[in-house]
Symmetry: C2
Subunit: 359 residues, 2 copies
């Protein structure tokens, strides 16, 4: 994201956040030593994972919003709130990886993966070892959920504002858990039982956009009207981000996006793009699609054929159109914020980065 | 537990706590309806599980301690703190059941179990269904961990005391997660790598005794010296409780204790009793023990033989002696509390109930 004149840039935010995270893990590792080396290893595993990747965009959005509404304020006052959002994000990724049975994240072994390796001399049965590794990842996520709350108490703002920040965090967690549940069930419940829009709002928009932006604004005592606008804006941008992500997962160039453009189709991921296709396609097109979708062994030619179908039926264009509508709505909402034009740049850039990501 | 004159009795505590829990779930179920019926079902499953059992001893200990140090105070002021401890307990049980692959709790289906049934029309493969059910139980526990923190903010006491209560809760969670980790690993890491005493302190004593007692005392602004005594007392009682529980798991009468006296031996649970045996037994006794211990198909005669070995070698007597020492130490500590004799009864009863449970 380009540097915006009046608020912190992403690189500086990441550096400050990572410094704070380093201090937090130092403390936890020291405390874990009281329980024994096993516990030290768990905290080191979590630190390894978190520092291996992640752009800290949630903390960045929180810090930048705080600064936009409170330009003279010290970011260190609210750094614990920013880091709390990163911990919740990490906890959700760790638990999501359990649900998805993944062993990698950010190109390195996740908690599951690290413990599968660590336990291999002690547990020969692969299923048993996978279960024990999963159990440790479960505990790791639990610890981070608890610590996110603890960090909020270290915010240097009036108690009333900290309590509001905690209420927002609690709502985010309640919503992302609901979103995760729906995302688990959409894979096997009857078609139409669960709305993909609801999943996007609750699994993606809530804790990744609404939480960081409104927390930053609340802690800066932004006008109520602005907080309400930021909330609506975040939902629109979050849902649009998910739609764009679905497009990237099929049509993106992996060299640019860093994301596979094959696995969504091979794994049969139900997206709005797929739903649009099903509404527009002929019987014959549906059959050709079904022969490839959700087939892990699909060839590159198969995938190219499916991309062709998604394009030809107009499903791709319909999703692109929807993202564009969201982009325009979001841009017009930024205009209503009580910020000066310089500070508004922050949100214009955020919208472009989220809804117009290069693919 | 018998009624103690100056503080609340267990039955009244359970009733008040369950009323509060009912209101909490009503609210969550209403909010979940915004996300859809799937999420409503999850919250109903959690409520079903929690209301199916549990004696609410942690909330009771917290409420009674608060009252002992603050006899005129309204319990409703701190009810959210008591319920927060029950939610953390429930979260830990739900996640512990994932680790142990259990589907029952309190004689009813746990979250795992309820979802395994619910998903059976949609997922035919038993392994796949077990994984999806486990994933939902994972999310359920996460939600309760977050909500325990949220509840603390509803305590009607000065912010400084609420923050202290949150620091205690955070420490409990940090410690119980460490204790759970050690408990996972003790099953397969080399003997002696992990101290059973450490597991008992961190898995049992910390969140089940130290947390509730010290939270009640802190919220009542008990003298610092009393809080320090209660903390030490809790660790002693918690570890003694675990030792007594280990004895019950082998020598108890299931009709009295409600707990199997066979599964610990069949599952090969490493307890202090087993460690004592290994230190005292002859080669021949060790061999006979090993032929039954950790053999799920052991007969009643086999189990009786193992009980005989544990008794004959003096292992049982050694553990009983250790519990008795802890009981005496705990009783003498109560004498140093600044409470009047009536209020002290609370702790004398707690010690008897924990360390002298009928078996």
């Amino acid at each position: 994201m380009q540097i915006v004149s009046t608020t912190i840039d992403t690189a500086t935010a990441k550096q400050l956040v990572d410094e704070y995270i380093g201090g937090y893990f130092n403390q936890r590792i020291n405390e874990a030593a009281q329980l024994g080396l096993s516990y030290v290893r768990l905290w080191q595993s979590i630190e390894n994972l978190i520092l291996a990747g992640g752009k800290r965009l949630r903390p960045y959005m929180l810090l930048a919003t705080y600064q936009a509404y409170n330009p003279e304020a010290k970011l260190s006052d609210i750094m614990p709130a920013a880091v709390a959002h990163e911990l919740i994000h990490s906890a959700m990724l760790i638990h999501d990886d359990i649900i998805d049975r993944d062993t990698m994240r950010y190109g390195v072994k996740n908690i599951n993966g690290q413990y599968n390796e660590h336990y291999s001399p002690f547990i020969s049965d692969a299923n048993e070892r996978a279960h024990m590794s999963l159990s440790v990842a479960l505990l790791a996520g639990d610890a981070l959920i608890a610590d996110a709350h603890m960090l909020l108490r270290k915010i240097n703002r009036p108690t009333e504002l900290i309590n509001q920040a905690e209420a927002i965090l609690n709502k985010e967690i309640f919503e992302v858990i609901g979103g995760e549940l729906l995302d688990v069930e959409v894979a096997f419940l009857p078609k139409g039982a669960i709305s993909l829009d609801t999943i996007a709002i609750y699994k993606t928009a809530s804790y990744s956009f609404v939480g960081p932006l409104t927390t930053g604004a609340v802690l800066a005592q932004a006008p109520e009207n602005d907080i309400a606008i930021l909330k609506k804006l975040s939902i629109i941008v979050g849902v649009g981000y998910q739609l764009r992500d679905d497009l990237i997962g099929v049509f993106g160039n992996p060299a640019i996006t860093g994301k596979s453009n094959a696995s969504d189709i091979k794994e049969g991921k139900r997206t709005y793009l797929v739903e649009m296709f099903e509404q527009c396609a002929s019987e014959e097109q549906l059959e050709r699609f079904a022969a490839v979708f959700h087939h892990p062994t699909a060839s590159n030619d198969d995938l190219e054929m499916v991309r062709g179908l998604l394009t030809k039926t107009g499903a791709r264009a319909a999703v692109e159109q929807l993202v564009e509508e969201k982009r325009l709505r979001a841009v017009s909402m930024v205009s209503s914020l009580s910020l000066n034009e310089d500070a508004k740049q922050l949100y214009f850039v955020l919208i472009e980065q989220s809804l117009n990501r290069e693919m």
